[in-house]
Symmetry: C2
Subunit: 378 residues, 2 copies
């Protein structure tokens, strides 16, 4: 495996984190989730799909992070810039890496405050029994919040990261362009889902972790259900929303098509959504808040069941800020976000549209091929 | 969406859990992970890929489970047998469902012990800040282990679940059979990975959450790395290991092929692996332990870097027991496990083989098309 980025990128991330750790007087940070571990190491594998083994990364107050991981991961971690890799033969009942982790923390930070992600979107990817055992093993350390250091750093992408997201967007664009070849009146939605994922892979996705969508008359009732076998009908709006991955980075956007013909309600919906997206694009400038961008779109389309009108993305399908009234995160250059307005069409049916953009000094740069205001008919 | 199973299946699971809860004097169980929530509800969506929103299911001491979930999931959860669904507009900074969850727990269990998964393989899928706030909001409740109730129940599959896993195995078998069409001397491994996932979808997989593999002379050095662009060479062994999903259930098995020709070392490896798998199959009877099955295979091939020679599977790629010396879980009818021996071939190269079986009264039933003892040459 060739690392996704040069070592200097991971070194720079670590240095930035350590500057924040010093401010907050953290002796070390303990990270357990896929994206957080990968952020500082470049350790990229689909093996996280298995819940059986915990993985640990310690970011010390200074120096290179230390990996405390199952032995099955030693060879791959050895190809990253991390050189202190301590392993145990997981899964190991009774002591699944806990004493090794405790010893390593003691080595790196003889006492003091250990910071772990505590805020929204985070979770501790280790058994609670083991977390309790770790705390018991280190009675003179305190375990508390990481003050959002890693989550905050991850919100602003480097040019190298933006390139990866842009490439994922391009791959999805090619797949979306082929949808008229796989979907027509009579095609079961479940078949469209399978074939769209195949298109994503054909055009270069490494994998397709996320696909949702819907199809119904002039909109759809729900955007998170698995695909049914119901065939597409004339007058349906078909929506496909994908998070496909290139070198560990996601795109996350959708497209709508009119099946057979565009109903008036669907045509109006698309037009409204694109007007809202344009308003969001205009508002998405450095110094504006997530709330500002939300209001710019909400003013056009109102809210939706989704509860938010966009979000950050990167190593995860969704990460960082939410475009909601109550998120006052200030947009900074390099943040990559989605604009995701939704609009009610007829009855309880809605349409959702999504584009991906990066915040630049002069205004937002579009990463997706911006959609037209009229629906493509298939 | 039609539910994957009839309501009676979820009802029966709940009743069994509540019998165990009574023994352990649990007032309620609180579940937060995809598989645990789905086990009692049938709630199936790929939306868990987004880490932004927590989801909660409460199993009370008696009666139907109660869902406390983001409003975006209300429509889909409403199609399951769960009728008490309480929602909040997540993500909601400041109180992301915590007070609603606390109120609901208070309704269902005015005091007493709340059980959460604490053991190996489990994690709490909610922010630690929110977990701490929940405990503060319910000072007269105690929060502790669920005694492994859900994990233990999930190990033994119903016939309906076994049918789903068997179908996933069949889909993968058809994809594996087509590999000679997509892989030959000169094909980059990354291309083989993409095309294999396309084959899985073509043959009916809903999605392909997991694919790993390797290719090198007479074996491979590592089984969890992303695919490189290195072309297949004569004398390579190509291995593909997939966890693809049908109706929310995984298969998890691999196949090896000799590229161009089978080297003596590779041929010997395959023969050893199939001998080990046969020994595991023979040992995998009700009443035997995971350790017994491990030793039956280890006696033939020795250990490997993987640390275990198989594991349970079902709603997750890996779940439940591990085939290691120290796992003394007793095999019961209805458990679905993998047999996954590995053998060193030349230098630091190894080969890994995997089959899926279900434990039956008379002995194990094979769910995968058992491999021949000689490598297929492509």
């Amino acid at each position: 495996m060739v690392a996704v980025f040069p070592d200097a990128e991971y070194q720079a991330r670590t240095t930035r984190a350590q500057a924040q750790m010093a401010k907050h007087e953290l002796a070390a940070m303990l990270l357990t989730s896929e994206a957080d571990v990968r952020y500082y190491t470049g350790y990229l594998t689909r093996f996280w799909e298995s819940p059986s083994r915990p993985w640990f990364l310690i970011v010390p107050a200074s120096g290179t992070p230390v990996a405390v991981i199952p032995s099955i991961g030693a060879a791959l971690m050895g190809q990253t810039w991390i050189d202190d890799i301590r392993t145990w033969p997981a899964p190991q009942p009774g002591d699944d890496g806990v004493s090794l982790l405790a010893d390593t923390l003691r080595d790196l930070a003889p006492d003091g405050q250990i910071g772990l992600p505590h805020r929204m979107e985070s979770h501790l990817r280790m058994p609670l029994d083991d977390y309790n055992a770790l705390r018991t093993a280190l009675p003179t350390h305190t375990f508390g919040t990481d003050h959002g250091i890693t989550a905050d750093l991850r919100q602003v992408k480097s040019e190298a990261e933006i390139d990866k997201i842009a490439r994922a967007c391009d791959i999805a664009a090619n797949a979306f362009a082929d949808v008229p070849r796989i979907a027509t009146v009579g095609t079961p939605l479940s078949q469209v889902f399978r074939d769209f994922q195949r298109l994503g892979l054909q055009h270069g996705a490494d994998w397709v972790p996320y696909l949702s969508g819907g199809a119904d008359q002039s909109g759809y009732g729900d955007v998170i259900s698995p695909a049914s076998d119901t065939p597409l009908r004339d007058g349906d709006v078909l929506m496909l929303d994908t998070g496909l991955v290139h070198d560990g980075y996601f795109c996350d956007y959708d497209r709508n098509w009119a099946v057979g013909h565009a109903t008036d309600a669907a045509a109006r919906g698309q037009s409204q959504l694109m007007e809202a997206a344009a308003a969001g694009l205009e508002a998405a400038k450095p110094g504006a808040t997530a709330s500002d961008v939300y209001h710019s779109m909400h003013g056009v389309v109102g809210g939706g069941d989704a509860g938010r009108l966009g979000h950050g993305l990167g190593m995860q399908l969704t990460e960082g800020l939410s475009l909601i009234a109550d998120d006052h995160t200030v947009l900074r250059e390099g943040m990559v976000i989605t604009l995701e307005p939704s609009a009610m069409t007829v009855g309880n049916h809605l349409m959702v549209h999504e584009e991906n953009i990066v915040i630049r000094a002069g205004g937002a740069q579009i990463l997706t091929p911006w959609s037209p205001s009229t629906l493509t008919v298939i």
